[in-house]
């Protein structure tokens, strides 16, 4: 399988491939790539958090991002989603340069994301939260018409509600939900509309075993037209759904490959996966 586009930036690892080659290669004329990241970098104060990250995601690709804590995964999502502006580099979304677009403009182009720590509307009900998510990508956001039960939007929100298993608490205000329930809602909000790319930041965190299983099924069952990028420390889920895996380390992409390749990579095991046996970290203290 050809390298689809994971290059560590300036480090010179896999130096043979220039960052934007695969994006603009022969195939560009046919279907545009879902996402192209070109040598993204960003720093806070003296700290270089991302250091030349390049990556491409094909339409319908399901891509998992692994990496130790603090590798820069969430920061990468913040750049793609528009919450942060990169210090350098470019972001192409279906061939469109979105590097400087505000978040809401990217969302309207079909990008959606979840947050690692839930970001919800605590005073509104669960259904209203989803309704807002549904309306966000449809025209009429300034609409002064009354929303009634039975509207298409409400129906769409109710479908989401069922998908993330929150029908029972639909009318409850979000502030009264348990942590896990809020995580479920967080995922539901990212699924609204027909996104072309979803960024999922540790969606399984805080979910119980049963809900994790549901999540896995939900992700697998997403229409194939939707690409997603998934940060996840729960390997079971990640491997269940991902086609490809990238591993980030210290602000760079260190490896990419198929799930199998990654799982068997010695270096990845050393910095991220661990030995998988009880003795691995025994000498910690």
């Amino acid at each position: 399988m050809p390298v689809t586009g994971i290059q560590a930036g300036r480090s010179g690892e896999r130096a043979g491939v220039s960052p934007d080659m695969p994006a603009r290669g022969a195939g560009a004329a046919a279907t545009p790539l879902a996402l192209v990241l070109e040598t993204l970098s960003v720093g806070f104060g003296g700290l270089q958090v991302l250091d030349g990250v390049s990556m491409t995601i094909r339409p319908a690709e399901r891509h998992a991002v692994f990496g130790p804590n603090g590798a820069g995964k969430t920061t990468l999502f913040n750049l793609i989603g528009g919450d942060l502006m990169p210090g350098g580099g470019r972001i192409l979304f279906f061939d469109m340069d979105v590097t400087r677009l505000p978040p809401h403009a990217r969302v309207r182009l079909g990008m959606r994301r979840t947050y690692q720590s839930s970001m919800l509307f605590p005073e509104l009900s669960v259904l209203e939260n989803l309704l807002i998510a549904v309306r966000g990508v449809r025209p009429g956001r300034f609409g002064l018409g009354r929303i009634r039960p039975g509207d298409v939007d409400v129906a769409a929100a109710e479908t989401l509600l069922r998908n993330v298993r929150l029908t029972d608490v639909a009318a409850q205000t979000v502030a009264t939900l348990s942590h896990g329930q809020q995580r479920q809602l967080e995922i539901g909000m990212a699924l609204a509309g027909t996104p072309r790319l979803i960024l999922l930041d540790e969606p399984a965190a805080g979910l119980s075993a049963a809900e994790r299983r549901d999540l896995g099924e939900l992700l697998t069952a997403l229409p194939r037209s939707t690409a997603f990028l998934l940060i996840e420390h729960d390997l079971e889920i990640a491997l269940q759904v991902a086609d490809r895996v990238s591993v980030m380390h210290g602000g760079r992409v260190m490896r990419q490959g198929t799930p199998d390749e990654i799982m068997n990579d010695a270096e990845v095991q050393a910095i991220y996966l661990g030995g998988g046996s009880k003795e691995a970290g025994g000498h910690a203290r």
Binding site: N69, S208, H233, G274, G281
Partner: protein, 252 residues
């Protein structure tokens, strides 16, 4: 400051570390915990259960963060109704769900603040050794940390209090697998070497079974079952029944 801890806590006491009896937690008219009873003699007890079953509410009740009714005894002494800081001074430390680090304090300040009483074997340097990642970020503010780093910080903060009872609410959330492994080892060795009792709420069944001696299952605010960890680990049918985990559940 040591004196504030009951003498009983250090002696090989006959009293259970934590004894919860018919505990109720209410939010308005909704009951999150209903008549839950729980006994933790020593060692590690894990609580598992699906989302929204009342695990966090139980922990919050023990630490005094939400009002409750019933009885909570710490080494034989009733602590229900005490304000949180009193409870903490009696040797209860808490790793809360969602991390709850202080946004305007740096990593270093977190640890220094928690190490106020300077008791026990843990020091900020020890924590940095346990989580080297934190040391690199020691001058960063709480919210400038990545999710996993925050989790490490929350754990470090609790350990520095040198608790006799450590409450951990989903401590592995957001941690990389390798750190999880390391944490498991640390907890096991802590529980083995010291008198510290650990109450662990966990979604990661594998981790729970790995660390805990016994496991309690919560359903709808009640503790419905307590059993040795090994028994749960071995019995997939039971896992399936209690938690809706199916086929590829955890085995030992």
């Amino acid at each position: 400051m040591r004196a504030s801890k009951p003498a009983a806590a250090r002696e090989p006491a006959t009293q259970a570390a934590l004894a919860i009896d018919r505990l109720d937690v209410r939010y308005g008219r909704a009951r999150a915990v209903q008549q839950a009873s729980l006994l933790l003699e020593r060692g590690t007890l894990a609580i598992v259960g699906r989302n929204g079953m009342g695990k966090t509410s139980l922990c919050n009740a023990v630490t005094g963060m939400v009002p409750s009714s019933g009885s909570i005894r710490l080494f034989g002494e009733e602590i229900r109704g005490l304000p949180p800081h009193r409870i903490a001074r009696r040797g209860v430390a808490y790793v809360p769900q969602g991390r709850r680090v202080w946004r305007s304090l740096t990593v270093d300040e977190h640890l220094r603040l928690a190490h106020r009483f300077r008791r026990g074997e843990w020091t900020p340097d020890g924590i940095y050794e346990l989580f080297p990642r934190l040391k690199q970020r020691r001058h960063n503010g709480g919210t400038q940390l990545s999710g996993g780093e925050q989790q490490m910080l929350a754990i470090g903060r609790a350990l520095l209090l040198d608790p006799s009872l450590l409450l951990m609410d989903e401590p592995t959330e957001g941690l990389a697998p390798i750190i999880v492994e390391q944490l498991a080892a640390t907890l096991r060795s802590l529980a083995a070497r010291t008198e510290m009792a650990i109450l662990l709420v966990e979604q990661n069944l594998r981790f729970a079974v790995d660390v805990a001696d016994s496991v309690a299952v919560m359903v709808n605010g009640c503790v419905v079952r307590t059993m040795p960890a090994a028994a749960l680990a071995a019995d997939r049918a039971l896992q399936q029944q209690l938690m809706g985990v199916h086929a590829q559940g955890v085995g030992s």
